[in-house]
Symmetry: C2
Subunit: 692 residues, 2 copies
């Protein structure tokens, strides 16, 4: 087959994936939407979530347009006043082309996130309603809701990449698409993450701790904001996040494929990454059809089996592509190693966050000595959990590199393909992951609209299963982001060399070392800023919730409707304002390092940001999950259950973990991706313009 045909096949599978997603969306919408009370709660959530996302996207549209103009002007036009006459070689096509693909990339990422949220805010109430009839129907709705997001977004990603490459035949332009996707993802993830935790922490601290009412009690003025947060943070944000890693992995591999081709390899190595993704799409579509749970069954087990089955299917489909297509075995090894080690990392993550194993149990047990000990122990296990995942990433990298080299394929191309392989089953992973917040929301709606104990129990069973899926997904996402960023790192090197610059990134060079140090502090800096935004603004919102309870006694008695709107507005406004500094960090810092300390220092900067970025991302995701599940395990009746000293201590641990796992942690892999992409896109300028 010619490579055009291969691209068309990938494009076709992308369209098919979107089609299946839309069919599932329609199916979800046809399910019963519940009684008046549930619908009222759901409507509140839906309206507020849509409103926040509207504000967010509007701001982002402004950013995207501005960034697009900047890209077009800086990369596309001769600016002798700025750079001096004839120093930089300009390319109008590259400038305007990158600007357009950037905007398209951001737009597509926005659509992917929006779609996920649109189905989630409808699936939640339907899941809650179906929970009255049992586990099987409600699980089906929640999982199909998740699949809309999973299948829809990989479809959108592949359609975007294939279409741009088909139209332009220029792999560098696809870089703009990826940059757009990551820029949007970073803001959506960080913004949503800040929003959701302002709301969650405030609602919990005042409602549960001070006034002793249940989580998700409708009397709590912050409850709607809290549920909105689950949607904008966990679904729209998380979706955009994995989406951007997915796009970046394919794009980085394509760029490195170009380098292979210049060394005499077959053209098709440029589109091979798309073909691996196509195999993953097919595997995900089939795998997600087969996830079922019977009454009294274990939803978590169903999700796991689905994931493993999808991996096996993928390994088979890739074999067909590699051997049918006449590719070397040297690209099969990385693709399969990627997905297998992804699974391994995912399940190691599960060891540290599931209440079946020692870490969660230990944290729960030590809670007897108070919240401080709970926190120190959880913190330590969180750090410990980084070790196996990083070892997994190292093994994946070495297997992929030397596996490819053994067949005379450039090793780094192998690493890039391992990243694509690890993310290939994203459709299935995200389906299982997006299922979680839908189930969580369903539980909230069931409680807020008093659907009865059995319904709440069913919704609770669904909710618990979401944690493992989320842990696995996070393991995958961070592992793959690490490999992707490693390949982007090399893509950056290729771009610098293509522009005539030099790049010798040896650690013994003081400029490279400076870059490494500065890069290494960027993820902690980013984490600090986003988390401080949460505590600062939670402080404001806690005041507002307290005010409503104190000034309007009817609210607590349930005779007066609280002013939900006001809490939603506070969270929205503060989250958007808090995004400005993180956004600047991600774009301005790498450019400053590049223009001042030079391209090698920027190489070091990217390297440094990868190491701490991966470590902090894993630590925060796992630590947060661990604290959360230690609390849930106690609440399930262990060690004295709800109300015991252990429980009180574990609630503090859970609250500390909240911004770790939902605000700072999940933004970090996107942060390092954005910084790598910014560097690659501006490489032509940096190569020739720098102080040192």
């Amino acid at each position: 087959m010619s490579d055009t045909l291969w691209i068309v096949v990938a494009l076709g599978l992308g369209v098919a994936s979107i089609g299946v997603a839309l069919l599932k969306f329609a199916w979800v919408m046809r399910q019963p939407a519940g009684d008046t009370s549930s619908q009222r709660v759901a409507r509140h959530i839906r309206r507020s979530a849509t409103q926040f996302l509207g504000y967010l996207y509007l701001s982002l549209a402004g950013v995207a347009a501005g960034m697009g103009v900047l890209l077009a002007v800086l990369l596309g036009f001769d600016l002798p006043l700025l750079f001096g006459e004839g120093v930089v070689s300009y390319d109008v096509t590259a400038g305007i082309g990158t600007a357009i693909t950037f905007i398209v990339g951001a737009l597509f990422a926005g659509v992917a996130g929006y779609m996920g949220m649109a189905v989630a805010v409808n699936a939640n109430v339907r899941t809650a309603t179906a929970a009255r009839d049992g586990l099987t129907p409600s699980f089906r709705i929640a999982f199909n809701g998740g699949s809309v997001m999973g299948l829809g977004m990989i479809g959108i990603a592949i359609v975007g990449i294939s279409a741009i490459y088909l139209l332009t035949e220029n792999a560098s332009l696809v870089l703009g698409f990826s940059f757009g996707a990551s820029a949007l993802a970073l803001l959506a993830k960080a913004g949503g993450g800040i929003y959701t935790k302002i709301a969650d922490i405030s609602a919990d601290l005042v409602g549960k701790v001070e006034f002793g009412i249940a989580e998700d009690d409708a009397r709590n003025p912050g409850s709607i904001a809290d549920n909105v947060g689950d949607n904008v943070g966990d679904i729209a944000g998380m979706g955009a996040d994995i989406y951007d890693s997915y796009v970046a992995s394919v794009v980085a591999a394509m760029l490195l494929g170009v380098a292979l081709v210049t060394r005499g390899f077959d053209d098709r190595y440029i589109v091979f990454p798309l073909m691996v993704s196509a195999a993953g799409i097919l595997a995900s579509i089939i795998g997600s059809q087969l996830v079922r749970v019977r009454e009294g069954g274990d939803p978590g087990r169903a999700l796991n089996l689905g994931t493993i089955f999808t991996c096996l299917l993928f390994a088979g489909f890739v074999a067909v592509v590699v051997f049918g297509g006449g590719f070397t075995f040297g690209v099969y090894i990385p693709a399969v190693a990627g997905v297998l080690i992804g699974l391994l990392i995912g399940y190691t993550t599960n060891f540290f966050t599931s209440d079946l194993y020692a870490p969660v149990r230990a944290v729960a047990k030590y809670s007897k000595s108070g919240s401080a000990i709970n926190i120190i122990t959880g913190f330590s296990y969180g750090l410990l959990s980084v070790v196996p995942s990083v070892v997994g990433i190292v093994v994946a990298m070495l297997v992929a590199y030397f596996g490819a080299e053994a067949y005379e394929i450039d090793g780094i191309y192998g690493v890039a393909i391992a990243a694509v392989g690890m993310l290939s089953i994203t459709g299935m992973i995200v389906s299982a992951d997006a299922y979680g917040p839908i189930a969580d929301n369903a539980k909230g709606i069931a409680e807020m609209s008093d659907l009865g104990e059995e319904t709440i129990a069913n919704a609770d069973a669904l909710d618990s299963a979401g944690n493992t899926a989320a842990a696995v997904a996070k393991g995958f996402a961070i592992g793959a982001a690490a490999l992707t960023v490693l390949s982007l790192f090399h893509a950056y090197g290729e771009e610098i060399r293509a522009a005539g610059g030099q790049l010798t990134i040896t650690i013994r060079d003081p400029l490279v070392l400076s870059g490494l140090f500065l890069g290494a502090i960027t993820p902690p800096l980013f984490s600090a800023i986003t988390m401080l935004a949460v505590t600062r603004n939670a402080y404001t919102m806690i005041g507002e919730i307290r005010r409503q309870f104190n000034e309007k006694p009817g609210v607590l008695e349930g005779t007066e409707t609280p002013d939900y709107e006001r809490c939603v507005r506070i969270a929205s406004r503060d989250a958007l304002k808090a995004l400005i500094v993180p956004a600047l960090i991600s774009v301005v810092l790498p450019l400053l390092v590049g223009f001042i300390l030079g391209p090698s220092a920027l190489g070091g900067f990217l390297g440094g940001s990868i190491f701490t970025g991966v470590i902090f991302a894993l630590f925060m995701a796992n630590g947060g999950g661990l604290w959360d599940n230690a609390k849930k395990w106690i609440e399930a009746g262990n060690l004295g259950g709800k109300g015991s000293d252990e429980h009180k201590a574990s609630v503090v641990g859970d609250t500390v973990g909240d911004p770790f796992k939902d605000t700072a942690g999940p933004s970090l892999n996107t942060l390092i991706t954005v910084m790598s992409l910014v560097s690659s896109v501006f490489a032509p300028l940096i190569a020739v313009m720098h102080v040192f």
Copy 2:
């Protein structure tokens, strides 16, 4: 002057420094030792501290002897069965010589730590007693006690290094001395750190929180163990820690001096680092004489002025050495840049940990929303505090590097000299730092033996001033450790090359990248293991304290003496057992990486460990200090003072910060130093023996 004469001058100043320390020791011992009650408490502390240190040193002696034999055999003898015939070139002198200097190094470090503790456990009660007469006399005893440690240990270090170099004229053998010092420091610091926090957390949680008795109340069975902890952890451990950085910085600079000489420079560049240290010793002796505080004055200000004055003296003395000795200006820049940027890092640290500035105030204020918010905020500011220090390290490195290069001195030699410069005033820094725990202990004794309110108030004023000094010292220690390890990193490269190995540490090599990743997770892993040792064992000790309170009602009523001994034994035994894994990590991990993945990967490993080691060390030290001072600020009557909700929340934050700042954090710079030294010492073997 010939270089032998210079060494003799350095040796002489070292001896003088030890002499001044002994005079001060004798002076402290001549001060009144207080009434029977105080003496009884002090005797308990002294006996238990000496006992723990005895156990610790006995275990360490075993480790040192074993390690010495291993070094002698591996480096000194032909082992064809192990390595294959004729693969490695052996050198009996290097083997046995390194073994001997290793043991001497460990021994000297032990003496330095022991001396500090010996004076501290006598100065504490004398400080408490003198506090009855006012601030001036009690400050003088506490500070002179600290000076014994500060001046004594730099004297011991310089005597050791000078003597070995004078006798052998072989800079590589001094490496063994440094390795011995760091190995002992790591175990003393980690062991003491685990001990002190097991005792502190347990005593506080049961005594203060559960039974509502004061901190340091003699009825608390854990109170003696707690005060012992201050001595073994903060003094003996901390002393050994800065001691080892001090030795390593001089040794690394001497080794790089050898490289300079082989390129045709004057021999004296090998001993120049000793001369810089000698200038620092003289400055510290003079500076420490001038620290005084008048009645009603601010002890913190006196300590700061002393430090700044010592820096200025040092700049002057080094100018004499450089210009008088005919050295190039290119080595003056790094020496002075080092000490100035050390000050800068120290005072930035102070910004984040002093209750005069926004971070501590913010953490205190947000405590209103509960302990979780206190912790998230403190955690975030802790991360933020890393940024200026790391920027400072980068600036110091660049100034030193390019400053030296501008005068045609190898840039990395400049970096090494900057580290020596930064640590040159260690005598003064440690005097101020060791003052802290003496004052803290004095306060404890004053409370436990009811010396009256005014005395306690004076002791309290002394204690508060200790925090700034400790923050500045930690900033210095970590900043200098970073620069030292960077020079050791290059020294390692020289050793590999000298052994005929190749070293190309480019980040684009997958083996180097693997090393970087694995190195980067080592400090978090080490932190996790030491902190888990604290919570696991605190859990046991909490049980014991509770048992005593519950089984013997007389203890709480004050009619029965609690079984202090039993608590001391638990903490000692558990701390020693908990050392095994961290010790293995520090020695075995780098060797595994070197022998399996090769010398370049080991280079990456060291690099990776530096980045996260520095970040975690700073974050943990500053975060812990910040939480502690937020609590103290509230206790001083702000935001409702003791007993308020803010106070309760801040106590939890303080407890979380305890193992950060006293267990894991301070061991990390020693960890990275040990790993660098292990790598350099074993470089001749690793250069020729590796799998990849």
